[in-house]
């Protein structure tokens, strides 16, 4: 590896080994992507460049509202997921018996995927399901809570999946942090809270924001849970719902692709904001002395 550094910058025959994986990807990913962007600049079934689709998106309420509806769903749930997953991962950092099993169970929804989680939710959160029976038995609720086929259905489904995703990433991140930093802080007289705020969090914050933005990317594309446990006609009418509707019911791939491109733009704006917040602190390795 070190010996190869002298070759840097020269074309090597070995590089051709990249082609078997690169060519298919160019054909089924990059070419369609470029075609897709060109699609958005045509009206469905007509030739000639127009911005018709984009104008349509921002003037028709049913289209433009999807931006707001998706963000209202995704941003609060992402913040909640990060809080919950961080608390769990931070607590499970110590060596505890059965840690592997607990970790596995928390990440379990991620393996099942949104479809199965949605069906599980229908059984568990329905008005006479275990969740409501339990809370009514305890006397916390007097009437069953309506947690399905509305905003909260999709919100809960996103939260369950997001906690699994963020948790699985945080476990690796927290493992990579050298515990001697915290031991040093404690031995110098800092209490647990101070150690967390002054030492642990600054070391981990860059990674935490990275995971947060990956999670936002994933969740902006929410589709199946918005259909199955949400209310796709109004409160969970997110980007994907409208885009799929345009493509599969009206066969208007041009409009559908326009929605997808705007979704990508919203995603990049979100990433930019997260990146800006992230940059304002220490960014660097947290395992220097390991």
């Amino acid at each position: 590896m070190k010996a190869d550094h002298q070759d840097t910058g020269h074309f090597q025959k070995d590089t051709l080994l990249l082609l078997p994986s690169l060519l298919p990807l160019l054909l089924i990913f990059l070419y369609p992507l470029i075609q897709g962007i060109l699609l958005t600049l045509h009206k469905n079934g007509e030739a000639g460049f127009t911005f018709y689709n984009y104008i349509q998106f921002f003037t028709v309420r049913d289209f433009s509202n999807t931006i707001f509806r998706t963000l209202v769903l995704v941003i609060p749930s992402s913040i909640l997921e990060m809080t919950l997953a961080f608390a769990m991962a931070y607590h499970l950092r110590k060596p505890i018996r059965g840690k592997g099993l607990l970790n596995g169970l928390i990440m379990f929804p991620l393996t099942l995927g949104p479809l199965i989680v949605a069906v599980g939710m229908i059984d568990f959160f329905k008005p006479n399901g275990w969740f409501n029976l339990f809370l009514m038995h305890l006397g916390i609720l007097h009437q069953p809570a309506q947690l399905l086929y509305n905003f909260w259905g999709t919100f809960i489904s996103l939260t369950i999946l997001g906690v699994g995703f963020i948790f699985s990433n945080l476990v690796g991140l927290m493992d990579s942090i050298d515990p001697s930093f915290e031991q040093a802080a404690r031995s110098l007289g800092a209490n647990g809270f101070q150690t967390f705020i002054r030492v642990f969090y600054p070391l981990i914050r860059s990674g935490v924001w990275n995971i947060f933005s990956l999670n936002v990317i994933m969740q902006l594309a929410v589709y199946s849970s918005a259909i199955i446990v949400g209310n796709p006609a109004s409160s969970t009418r997110v980007f994907s719902v409208v885009a799929f509707e345009q493509a599969m019911q009206y066969f208007n791939y041009n409009m559908a692709e326009t929605i997808a491109v705007i979704m990508a733009a919203v995603q990049f704006i979100c990433l930019g904001v997260v990146h800006y917040i992230r940059k304002k602190g220490y960014v660097g390795s947290a395992s220097t002395f390991k």
Binding site: H5, D7, S21, F29, I122, F124, Y253, A264
Partner: protein, 286 residues
């Protein structure tokens, strides 16, 4: 006597410490326990409901039966879609591994111009919304007549398979000892021999791990397949989704039986991957 009262005091102090630690940990345990209970509850209710005769407003179903499950299998041709999912996923996993092992090797061992740019390109499919490239892929496939075909399903799975196997395989190859390869070459092995006799055998654990991971990912792949699948050519989860989204048409135990058939292979693969990764760790530990 004096000594005794001191031990009592330290005892009391110790107890207060234990109580304080317990109270401090309590909210965390409540959170973890609550979350796990919800997940287990969701999984168990799917199982119970799939095999229940009648379940309404009680803690447990009134009775158990296999009839919903068998009915779901016969009425929805689950076996057909199950086989189709397994076949396409299996073939696509094999193809993406064969295509990406050489590339991953080059990434791990060589430096070349635009390396980080290309690495970024392989990760681009994860960073963009899947719809942004899935929609034009579907449009192109319909034009070429590839949509709703077996080949089309396999090609589309490569969109998940190639980037994902690259990302998993590169660190595996980086962890191999390059001196073995240098030794093989100095003993006169040509590139192909060195690759097939030295690199690939060492990579088998890595390839197995990534094969299982890609398989799970592909088995759950959804967006592209939904767009290019037809009524006869679709994977199991797209079929289950289309039954589920046509709301209210089916009794709940039927939907749960469908979901269960989707869940069982995933559970199997998860245990398989856990078993493999544990064995791998043991091997590395040695």
């Amino acid at each position: 006597m004096h000594a005794g009262s001191r031990t009592v005091r330290t005892h009391r102090y110790k107890w207060r410490q234990i109580l304080w630690n317990f109270l401090k940990a309590l909210p965390f345990w409540l959170l973890i326990g609550g979350f796990i209970l919800i997940i287990l509850g969701m999984t168990v209710t799917v199982f119970l409901s799939a095999f229940s005769t009648h379940w309404f407003g009680t803690v447990l179903p009134a009775g158990f039966t296999f009839s919903w499950f068998t009915k779901a299998w016969s009425e929805y041709d689950i076996w057909l879609y199950f086989k189709l999912s397994l076949e396409t996923t299996f073939i696509a996993t094999a193809i993406s591994l064969v295509l990406s092992v050489p590339g991953a090797y080059v990434f791990a061992r060589r430096d070349f111009p635009l390396k980080s740019f290309l690495l970024g390109f392989y990760q681009l499919p994860f960073m963009l919304p899947e719809l942004a490239y899935a929609l034009p892929v579907a449009a192109i496939f319909y034009k070429l007549g590839l949509a709703e075909t077996f080949t089309g399903l396999i090609i589309v799975q490569l969109l998940v398979g190639i980037p994902f196997s690259m990302v998993i395989l590169i660190p595996f190859i980086e962890a191999l000892d390059p001196r073995l390869e240098i030794a093989a070459q100095s003993l006169g092995a040509d590139r192909l021999r060195m690759f097939s006799r030295i690199v690939v055998p060492q990579l088998i654990p890595g390839i197995t791990a990534s094969a299982i991971n890609i398989f799970i990912r592909m088995f759950g792949a959804f967006v592209v397949i939904l767009l290019i699948s037809g009524p006869k050519m679709q994977t199991l989860n797209v079929m289950v989704f289309s039954v589920l989204s046509a709301t209210g048409s089916q009794p709940q135990p039927m939907l749960d039986s469908l979901t269960l058939s989707l869940m069982l292979p995933l559970l199997l693969f998860t245990f398989l991957s856990m078993w493999v990764s544990r064995r791998l760790q043991r091997r590395v530990g040695k």
